[in-house]
Assembly symmetry: C2
Homo-oligomer: 444 residues x 2
């Protein structure tokens, strides 16, 4: 949608909202629909080709309004998560459908999803142990629990451990292994911890780490977790969007061993912030961790098992209608449009990578798999820190650094909707110009 | 703003967004402002009288754009929380100002605020105990922690305890005490728990409970918590908005003893969902519970202490720009407009109350303090359950019930922006008509 169409459609939407508010008294205050009503009104999968804005808007009255507010919000979210899950070719277990035990919900951020998964895992672990040892105090169990993640994992994983009050151990990774967690390392840590009387219960794998977009080997790690009854959560916050392209889908191989999986369409799939999509193999595991049932939350369909009660899948009772954003984006781009968008960013990152590789003064610091290029001037950390400061002070482009094996590394991330090849070339021109200045100032 | 103005302003806003996007390349990618830049550009308090939409919109370029994205988001949130805190006449300790140690942040829901306060309290309690007994294992401390709330508190308080992995005890309340927690009861429970080796550390007081809008006696409970170094959190999710009116402000007396306080402007102060405002006496207590510091989150002003780093005040790293909603609403209504809105709803509830009291077949089940009326047919729970079903099946109005001392009670809540006296009278006509039907069907 270009700016001209945005102006036109935006104004139509303002009128639609005003019409709704002006005539609201003619609508029933409570919907008269049965659980599952919405699924039958829309296709089972996202369209391949883009639809028009009119196509989507005319469905608001037909699909959303009959189940206004809560039922529509719950059901569209479940169905959109199915659409997206199918785009990703997730195993059938993660699709809610009409009879599935799994399914997806929208969380605010990957931090929330990691925490929600950890809490569900903790609750499952406690239940399993109490089943065989009912007299054991719960506090004794939780004091022995131990969770794992890569030393490359986002800091929110560590914070999730603090919040849940459980031990969180970082698994060391190596440059030679491309900063991926190795099965052997996890296996050894589990054995040591079990020997010390601890209870391993949760592993957060990362697909596309924040520093360098590294990928843990989940085909190797998953079976270890399954054998040990450890909940494997996969955090693919950034990289997940790319899995809608067949050529990147192999990066998700091993998902069949996971208990939960999350990524952020608000990062790279054109859905506005916030929209962090999370799937679980068994939604009863989530609901078991959060469910409450006071009288003021009771309703007729509660125990029907015919829908995913998303209000019991996070800490809050009130939920925003975030799936509308997904519905509009998926239909107006179509799967092909979204794939094109991902591929274009990866190509632009590759273009930047070749510019870096063609310049002998620079080096690439990690494999370029998707839209992130980790690079640096050959030389000291200090010279790279100076270069970064110069770049960011110019306020033309903005780079966020990382540390890799003690090296200060610059990260070039392609992430704006409107980025074109000319931006990449301009950015590189600017970087090399500043690098020249910085290097000329170096003492001989 | 009526529908006609909404149509006009909405369309202007669409153009403003399109203009911004079309010219985005002319703006610097990173702002060039110092911490505190925004506070000096706008008044220290919300206006008394309404301003116009133009007044607010012309400030977007002057106030927001220079600190585009993160600094503006952080700073406007802190200043709006100060504005609202001042409207509520909160003690100076809760106002951030330029040198304060306290301040406010926006959370998504009261559930989140309760949990965040509980986690901060847990972290503070563990720190205090470790300070005098550094060898004591942290898991031993948390296994002894005990938190309290009213048996009338929202279910999310209990859930917060589950999530944080701490004991949560419900304090019994009585109809004769108007369902308020009594100081004597809390004191006795604390003494018993301490005698049993437990560590009381958190009390969640409720001002305006979900079932009946009851108010805990915080002037009595606060000093007990302070003496015992128990964190007192006040959840006033619904009632809090009314405290901007001098005649309702006494309900908040005792706030001076609290560590944190929360209410939902999205419930009753015309700010769209979600916007749950939370103040803490010491923001270092919050930050201490959530802070992480990887390289990719470092920036120049981190340690300046000159602003409230709201990204460390909840579980997530990414924050929506929710304070814009507060800025628009506070300015376009003015304090007086907001007070008028609250007062009108309370008057409408009183009008409904008099209709109920004038009908001998009905009784009022709890004091009507704000916009909630708890009432029932004199008679069995069954007849009231039948009446409720009839009312809700009609889909003209919708009531959510509660249990009070074993009685099934109907709750009439005035909460829509557009409610007028005629809606109240229509609702009552409908209720009495259905009540007549239900009573005629009763066996003699």
């Amino acid at each position: 949608m270009d700016a001209a169409e945005f102006r036109r459609r935006g104004k139509e939407m303002v009128d639609l909202i005003a019409d709704y508010l002006e005539n609201i008294e003619q609508r029933p205050v409570y919907p008269d629909v049965e659980p599952g009503y919405l699924r039958s009104l829309i296709p089972e999968e996202a369209p391949e080709e883009p639809e028009t804005y009119e196509d989507v808007v005319k469905d608001i009255e037909r699909v959303i309004m009959p189940g206004a507010a809560s039922p529509a919000c719950t059901e569209l979210e479940t169905v959109m998560m199915d659409w997206l899950g199918k785009m990703l070719k997730l195993p059938e277990d993660f699709i809610a459908g009409t009879h599935g035990q799994g399914g997806g919900v929208i969380q605010g951020t990957a931090s929330e999803a990691t925490l929600v998964a950890l809490l569900a895992a903790r609750s499952r672990a406690v239940r399993m142990i109490l089943a065989s040892d009912p007299q054991r105090p719960e506090t004794d169990i939780t004091s022995k629990l131990v969770a794992y993640s890569s030393d490359q994992a986002h800091c929110s994983v560590e914070r999730a451990g603090m919040i849940a009050g459980v031990r969180m151990k970082k698994i060391p990774t190596e440059q030679s292994d491309k900063y991926a967690v190795q099965g052997e390392t996890l296996r050894r840590m589990i054995q040591e911890d079990k020997a010390a009387g601890l209870i391993p219960f949760y592993f957060c794998a990362t697909l596309g780490t924040t520093p360098s977009c590294a990928f843990d080997h989940i085909t190797e790690l998953g079976p270890i977790c399954n054998a040990e009854k450890i909940w494997m959560h996969i955090d693919a916050a950034y990289a997940g969007s790319s899995f809608i392209c067949p050529e990147f889908r192999p990066l998700l191989n091993g998902i069949e061993f996971a208990d939960s999986f999350n990524f952020n369409p608000h990062k790279w799939l054109l859905v506005n912030f916030d929209c962090s999509t999370m799937w679980v193999r068994k939604r009863s595991d989530l609901i078991g961790a959060f469910k409450m049932d006071p009288l003021y939350l009771k309703h007729d369909h509660q125990e029907s098992g015919r829908y995913f009660d998303i209000t019991f899948s996070c800490y809050s009772q009130s939920i925003r209608f975030r799936s509308l954003k997904m519905w509009f984006v998926f239909r107006m781009y179509g799967l092909k449009g979204l794939q094109d968008y991902i591929r274009k960013h990866v190509e632009l990152a590759k273009e930047f990578e070749s510019l870096v590789r063609a310049d002998q003064r620079f080096e690439i610091s990690a494999d370029v798999v998707l839209g992130l290029v980790c690079f640096r001037l050959k030389g000291s950390n200090e010279v790279n820190e100076t270069l970064l400061k110069r770049i960011n002070n110019g306020r033309k482009i903005h780079l966020v650094p990382c540390q890799l094996s003690g090296q200060f590394v610059l990260r070039f991330a392609v992430c704006a909707r409107t980025t074109e090849s000319r931006h990449i070339r301009e950015a590189w021109r600017l970087i090399t110009q500043l690098a020249e200045e910085v290097m000329q100032e170096l003492p001989n």
